[in-house]
Symmetry: D2
């Protein structure tokens, strides 16, 4: 993907405060993502789970206005008082909000007006960031930037979903280079881990979301992980073997989901004259057999693992592996298993951009032992979502680079698959 979508880390001028530089960088990255879409593209909501691009642009801005500017500046005058209502998401403590499924009805404010809103807030923020901040305020700004980066990924997956609904199948970024697999991929190997009491979770001063803490010990049995994510080629075999028609492979809720929605392949796959095609950010493309499968639900990931007579890893297994590769020599020139967050070594210079996926784990999204949400409205952050969702680990081709870390916990409902979601198999040893 072009650097406009996933800009490299900011190189801010040495005289500028670091946070200010990060702010500029993240904000610019968001705006670059909408440089080539129309007001209409940025307005429509293609399903309840998705949001309009305009909403992502405005809501991330509202976060800074509400939690930083309004808190810091006495008698702060909001850029537009109505935006407080329109662009609140789920922060119940802040007040009433526009209902989520109706976000797509807001043809006004226009994209240009939203960009002007961003500019106005940026101006205040940049002025504020030029001065010294309290630690608490700096933490809030950092949270806001990480929050915005989460929305960057959603903005792209939501645009893809929107364009996939259009019979014209427009391309979001036609100039993107197709993924090229330089060398034939070797057969997956099984990397073994001896388990024991291991520590997982975030520690240290770097930013992490509340749900990544506290760092704590867990007891793991010995286990093995596949060196590669499951490929489209493997998925073809699953389909051909009747995977989508074999009730016994599926969880009960999963089987109902398959039947009710006539699921027969990953999201965005279409069979045309015996060949599988896939809607992508580059428009319709043939499904590449060597790329990791993507846009599969937890239900599909779980059924695939059962079909393969393996299982999904737990999030603790995944994180432990990501931090501690086996000392044996079976290191695979892949990418995700490299010690994170050293992504460059693992991603093959962005060659696998459309195949680099969030990996479903066998773990429900639940609080870590000793977890306490932050106080106040921002405390509603991630803890609110700790029911009925499953954890995904690793990051995808549209995940901002600074979100690629071993402790990062992404989470979605088991039927959702409009994110770039894939599978890596695990097994007992």
């Amino acid at each position: 993907m072009t650097s406009a979508l996933l800009p490299a880390a900011a190189n801010h001028p040495p005289h500028e405060p670091a946070l200010l530089g990060q702010y500029r960088h993240v904000r610019a990255a968001t705006e670059a993502m909408v440089a080539d879409i129309s007001d209409a593209d940025a307005t429509v909501q293609s399903m309840d789970d998705a949001s309009p691009a305009k909403w992502h642009l405005a809501h991330t801005t509202w976060f800074f206005e509400e939690f930083v500017l309004a808190a810091r500046i006495p008698d702060y005058e909001p850029v537009d008082p109505q935006y407080r209502y329109l662009f609140n998401s789920y922060y119940e403590a802040v007040g009433a909000r526009h209902p989520r499924p109706r976000r797509g009805l807001l043809t006004r404010p226009s994209l240009d007006e939203i960009l002007a809103y961003r500019e106005a807030v940026d101006e205040s923020m940049l002025s504020l960031l030029t001065d010294a901040q309290t630690d608490a305020e700096a933490a809030l700004v950092t949270l806001g930037l990480n929050h915005e980066q989460q929305h960057q990924e959603l903005l792209l997956t939501d645009i893809l979903h929107l364009f996939a609904q259009n019979p014209l199948r427009p391309a979001y970024a036609p100039e993107l280079t197709a993924p090229v697999i330089a060398d034939p991929r070797p057969a997956p190997e099984w990397l073994k881990f001896s388990g024991g009491v291991v520590a997982i979770g975030h520690a240290g001063d770097d930013f992490a979301f509340d749900c990544e803490t506290p760092r704590h010990n867990v007891l793991l049995q010995p286990y093995a992980l596949s060196s590669h994510p499951v490929s489209n080629h493997q998925w073809f075999e699953f389909i051909e073997d009747g995977g989508y028609q074999t009730a016994g492979l599926w969880l009960s809720d999963g089987w109902r989901w398959v039947c009710d929605n006539a699921i027969q392949a990953p999201l965005y796959w279409e069979e045309r004259d015996g060949t599988w095609w896939q809607m992508t950010l580059r428009g319709m493309q043939p499904v590449d057999a060597d790329s990791p499968v993507t846009h599969v639900s937890f239900f599909e990931a779980d059924a695939f693992a059962r079909w393969a007579e393996r299982r999904l890893p737990t999030e603790a297994e995944w994180e432990h592996a990501a931090r501690n590769l086996p000392a044996t020599g079976n290191f695979v020139e892949g990418r995700t298993l490299r010690p994170l967050p050293d992504r460059q070594n693992t991603s093959g210079a962005l060659r696998q951009m459309f195949g680099d996926v969030w990996e479903w784990t066998a773990s429900a999204f639940l609080p870590y032992p000793g977890f306490r949400p932050s106080a106040g409205a921002v405390g509603e952050y991630n803890g609110k979502f700790m029911s009925s969702q499953m954890v995904l680990r690793g990051g995808s081709c549209v995940t901002p680079e600074s979100h690629i870390r071993a402790s990062y916990r992404n989470f979605f409902y088991p039927h959702q698959r409009w994110q770039f979601t894939g599978v890596r198999l695990a097994d007992d040893v």
Copy 2:
């Protein structure tokens, strides 16, 4: 409303064929309606019953391309083959079509591309219309123009509905002059008609929709009609008297509709600090007591009539009255009761533009005796809708002038009210 919305009849150059002039005029009127809205405004679908402005623009164009150009020109090359699928509405005979509730997902083609599509089709059409036509072809073009005029009205009501969903309540046409009531309106009078065997339905060579024919005799009992449509002031009384809480006033389906949807006032009315406001094409406005009530459903119209101890007129009563005002002197300087289509005399020079309403009748939309739909795809025209809808008569403030005629049959489901719909009471004599 400005002339851009409701242009006066075309004055085409004398050397130009009449049909060509009408074509230019109608097409330009549609385009004028979207001169001030954005691509996003023209894209979003605010409910299943409504369509995006862009869709209205394209579908009316598709009609000419499909039924005129493709039929006449050998090996006609469509402007874009995919538009045939995207902009078909309900013409099953023509082939598959984009599902109605998904019209709002089409952010592409853009408004500009749709306008270019119109221009391309217009070019072919204008060339075609410069030559002589067969009667059949001329009839098709005339049908297409009347079809487009129907969509002009829908375009405006759909935009109003869209803007009413937006908490910002944007104005479509803020510069429109508010209705001014020059003189206090006299109390409504009852105009009496003696009934008997009367003819209704369209006759003659002028254009009429299929459902307006054949002209036929019906037998009417003596009846009376109110000189005025029901006013907002009368509706206040209905509300204050508990009309919306009195089950006995409502049809069974209507009462369920009231309860399920918590209906308490006409659509677009909002109470703010004890005053009723109303969303209009000019934005939010106080409800004017002297204007005709509008945006009421058949259920509300029927309940109001029962509350007033009157009834709604049948469509035959309405049409007979519109054609034959009583010879007695109780003629009221109103507008709708003037012999149509002489609208100028009746409409007070457009002073009541926002209060001029379609009037619900007590008649279901059913075929007239001897009705036969036209052959072929265009024969699906109006006859397809002859179940469960009620007839409305008269025309509203956004009805194109040439659609104002005594025989015109508009029709909607009894719960629908996003059109400019109102009430005129009738009674037995």
Copy 3:
């Protein structure tokens, strides 16, 4: 059907008041209908449109208790005060009521308790009916009896619907004699009527429902009616000719109904090894080619007529024909076209009990000119339903004999077909 289901007219002892005899007769007929079903059969509600048999038994009793006993007897003690709430149907004026879709949750009171409730109310009613009544009271009792007869028919159609949901397909009345067609039926003939100004609607002192009045004149064009209802044989042809797959034959709402519900045949038809079977009150039976088609919706009736290049009759045409057979000799030894209510001559001595059908008309169920509902709660009677329903005429194999009359207006929504509904074609002349 056995006499238990459709008892002949009552022969009450000469010394007994006529109304008392009718009361005994109607009440006994209802109870005979549930003689062979279980408490469970009488409890379950198979869809929102249907009601449990127990509810029919209790609601018809509630009518007498609420409108007759409680009105007449000072300080009347209800048999059970809670029944007032449980068994009110739609009489909003009487007070709150148990929600219709939850009628099937009432496993208590049991069928025996409901029968005891009937007995208790009957005792008071019979005592009351032994004395003289005011005309108003007698009219109320007569209304209650006719109301109960309406529910007799519903009770049977609702039981049939319930049993049709059960994979065991139990028979309600297995001993019923199958219809036998003694002689090959002659091809349908077309009976012509010259139209003109004719009177329809009920007149006279006999009982009729409010919606059958007032009698009034209508103007009919010349028309023709088929001598026979449409047969299953004709329906086979419609199916084989692709009737259910041809969009152009259907009203717009009808086509959506066909597609959404995958409609391919009349309700209760099942194809097994190339043969059509039909669930009936006698259990599963092969579809008899010579019997009138039944369990079709208005949408199907209308599409069939369009396929046959005919149309449905209006209710005025139907009623006029039923009252005035043509003087010419083309009288067909059928059944429905005989002057009603002389049913014996027309029905072939009950031989066609399962094939004798309500005939859909082309008329919406709307008030007759001058219609005024009765005052008070019973005034909610039929007028409440005058929207979006279509009129059926004639009566079915499970219609009580005294409901067979020329002016009777039955009504259902255009998609409903669990009643014994059929088709008779009409045509212009």
Copy 4:
């Protein structure tokens, strides 16, 4: 509750094989539960989540017929071939099945016929059990009996739900003695556990469900548990403090559930004149302040814990505590914390029958490390349900005694609350 509902352990004659005695005992217990309900009570399905009593009776019988008799007896003739279809639940491997939401439409077979079906299968089973069994067959029979005991509990909770829908609020077992709290309950104490690596899960030869295995080690942080489940009195405080109106206390999905369903109190609570009443198996009863709260969802349990500034225990914490009470003297004369399965010591001689509850844990229902489902159709047993459900521990007042064990994992969706579900608080130490 009477012994008919929860019979004591079987005392089978010494000469009878143990399994045969257990079979007799469990089967008789199920039948005793329906001794006083009607055919109708046993037929109706009050919501999709519940099943009719008749269905429970038949499905548990089908299990023995399908998995034991048909597997063992050559050319086994089923009692009724249609029952195979009607009473399969979710065993996809066995074949098609009657759709779950339509179970309540089966008025036939009657309750008596179902009891006769049970008798016929029992006859074959008792004959089979008189002989020696293979271990595999004995294991299947034991599974079948435990399966039937699960349905015993469901049968009672489903009956309660059905009766709660009836405005008459019938009592299932009016003669049950009300719970009596002999002594004022002491304030809850906090029992501390030091954590560490502990073993959980089932081990040994006794029966356990697949999901309780394998036994494995987990690492626990030090924690504390409340000596008592949360009482109704504590719940009153939660309500009065606005717990149901405070968004910040709820998970995001929970808050939507509260808003969408207008949740204001536990299921079956009704406020009448300022007093809380509760529908129970004994009919409507005042809510007893000293009893454990019951019929709360996971969402409510979680919100309550947050309000109380505590948390829910994990299932490992719960099980570890149930197995290892603290050595300190703060043992409370309660019931659940006694070493299980010694229930007699803990339950106060049935005094708390209506207050003895399943306790929601903070753990999602997921496979234990190394879990493998059994092969074949019975292998679909519990593993199918491992998504989006939360684990409950302990057992309720209607749980068969032999299901009360430390390793038992019950599971329901976070919004469900028609089981006897309650809350015990935990905390970090």
